[in-house]
């Protein structure tokens, strides 16, 4: 029992690879991009395998969707109102005031609605997920879940990414509708137009080629926001400081990705002749 053991291990010098010759910032960027891709790959691998955490999926959808509704509605309403008030004088100058509903409708449905609402969601939902998962990680709740016979990736990550992918497009549709209503009210400040006539003008000027690409890209926005929030939170370290960093970088990277996805979506839409 009273034996004293000395360590046998002798450390080996680290191997030099090609990555050691690249600038550190580039290596960091590439390794981060690689890690996010692997994280996304793991999501697709686990999302379609049983058991499906449907109860947690509904709970998260409620938390993410319903609790963001008021913020999305208020900001969308203001965007619709302001956009109309700002555009009106220019259109009046050219005698094209009658085009106001069409112009605002196309702007909101095609671009402003999806992008602005996605950015709001990146701020609210992305930071929330990043902070929540980061906090769970540093307080060992994720380990506790694993010890309790639960796959934490499936229970925490898959449900949240699916929730954002499914609920953010719904939030965007609602936000678009509220923004158009804001626009209708703004037109009625100076002029007079009925709600039916306003929406008839909006929908007359819209084609499926305006609505479908905007709707499709909103799923990608939702996926990117959930993915980055979960990735940053799930890989959080360095205690409470790390939680703050996770929340912050979730917002920054998710917002950047929203613009990148938008850019790619525009190119694809143009390629297929929708523009």
């Amino acid at each position: 029992m009273m034996n004293v053991i000395q360590p046998k291990y002798k450390p080996q010098p680290p191997k030099v690879t090609i990555f050691d010759r690249l600038p550190k910032s580039m290596v960091d960027f590439l390794s981060e991009a690689g890690a996010i891709s692997r994280f996304a790959g793991k999501f697709f691998k686990q999302a379609f395998r049983a058991p499906f955490e449907s109860k947690e999926l509904f709970r998260q959808s409620f938390e993410i969707g319903y609790r963001s509704l008021s913020l999305v509605a208020i900001t969308s309403f203001i965007i619709g109102l302001v956009l109309t008030l700002q555009s009106r004088p220019t259109l009046v100058e050219f005698g094209a005031e009658a085009w106001l509903p069409s112009m605002v409708g196309i702007s909101i449905i095609r671009e402003i609605g999806p992008v602005v609402i996605a950015l709001i969601c990146a701020g609210k939902i992305g930071s929330g997920i990043g902070a929540e998962l980061g906090s769970m990680k540093v307080t060992e709740q994720i380990d506790a879940m694993e010890v309790s016979g639960t796959n934490p990736f499936k229970y925490i990550v898959v449900t949240r990414i699916l929730s954002t992918t499914l609920t953010i497009p719904i939030l965007i549709i609602i936000g678009d509708a509220v923004a158009l209503y804001g626009s209708y009210l703004a037109i009625n400040i100076r002029g007079s137009v009925s709600l039916t006539f306003f929406f008839k003008q909006v929908f007359d000027s819209l084609a499926f080629s305006d609505i479908i690409p905007a709707f499709v890209k909103s799923f990608f926005f939702g996926f990117a926001i959930g993915l980055i929030g979960c990735y940053k939170g799930y890989n959080s370290n360095k205690g409470t400081e790390g939680v703050g960093r996770s929340a912050n970088s979730s917002v920054v990277i998710a917002s950047l990705l929203v613009f990148l996805i938008d850019l790619v979506a525009v190119q694809i839409t143009e390629f297929f002749g929708f523009l």
Partner: protein
């Protein structure tokens, strides 16, 4: 504390078959070689306190034992099953027989105390009726003296209460092995004494084997019948409390000062 004296005086020979066998365990994080050649055997009903400096790999050891961290080399056998060769399903089945009390208690913030306790029970596939689950939750909370905290949220609990609920969450599955990660750290002496009493009661009631990671020598002396000191990633010294205390070595002596 008579119960504690009985535990600490009992020698390793008086216990059953080995339930945890760690041999040649090696684990590193980059260039930080935490465990280099660690060996430890814990028998049924036996409690071993693992001591060592901060960052020496004590928590890493128990996380390797429960399969939370993969190890680089060596062997970790629990109930004679090699952890690294188990499938996820087999690992989950094994984990149902092991209780893990986290340093931070690790209670799920979004769930009530009741839901925290139910979570482990439901997740390990122990299908019971709603009434059976509730009565088991109440019984376990009663064991840790917190029956009236059933509907509280973790944010409403004190540090000592959180530790007790963390212990209750592990106990609800009636584990055969308990792994305690610094169970008394950050607690006042009175609460710390209460947690030690709870650990002794658990050992008596369920005849559990235990590994206790601790810096608290009072806790180690009362709850463990054997100590293991980690130095430079190896089991540098092991023996009863008195044996390790009387071993005149600069690596082990500071723990008893």
């Amino acid at each position: 504390m008579e119960q504690a004296k009985q535990i600490s005086n009992k020698t390793s020979e008086g216990y059953g078959e080995p339930v945890i066998e760690v041999s040649g365990l090696y684990k590193s994080f980059g260039n930080n070689h935490v465990l280099t050649d660690y060996n430890l055997t814990v028998k049924r009903g036996e409690s071993v306190a693992v001591l060592g400096k901060s960052g020496c790999g004590k928590s890493v050891l128990i996380k390797c034992i429960i399969g939370l961290l993969p190890y680089d080399a060596g062997s970790v056998k629990v109930f004679n099953k090699e952890i690294s060769s188990l499938t996820q399903h087999e690992l989950d089945e094994l984990r149902a027989r092991i209780g893990f009390v986290f340093q931070s208690s690790a209670l799920y913030d979004s769930m009530t105390v009741r839901e925290n306790l139910e979570f482990a029970l439901r997740r390990h596939g122990k299908h019971k009726s709603k009434d059976e689950v509730l009565s088991l939750v109440k019984e376990t909370l009663n064991d840790v003296g917190l029956a009236n905290a059933i509907d509280l949220m973790p944010s409403e609990l004190s540090g000592g209460m959180r530790k007790r609920i963390g212990l209750a969450r592990s106990l609800i599955l009636h584990p055969e092995i308990m792994l305690y990660d610094e169970p008394t750290t950050g607690l006042d002496p009175i609460t710390s004494g209460e947690i030690i009493n709870l650990m002794l009661n658990v050992q008596k009631k369920y005849n559990t084997s235990a590994i206790i990671i601790s810096h608290d020598m009072h806790c180690a002396r009362l709850t463990a019948n054997r100590l293991s000191v980690i130095v430079n990633g190896v089991n540098y010294k092991q023996g009863t409390f008195e044996e390790v205390k009387n071993f005149n070595d600069p690596q082990t002596h500071p723990f008893f000062e």
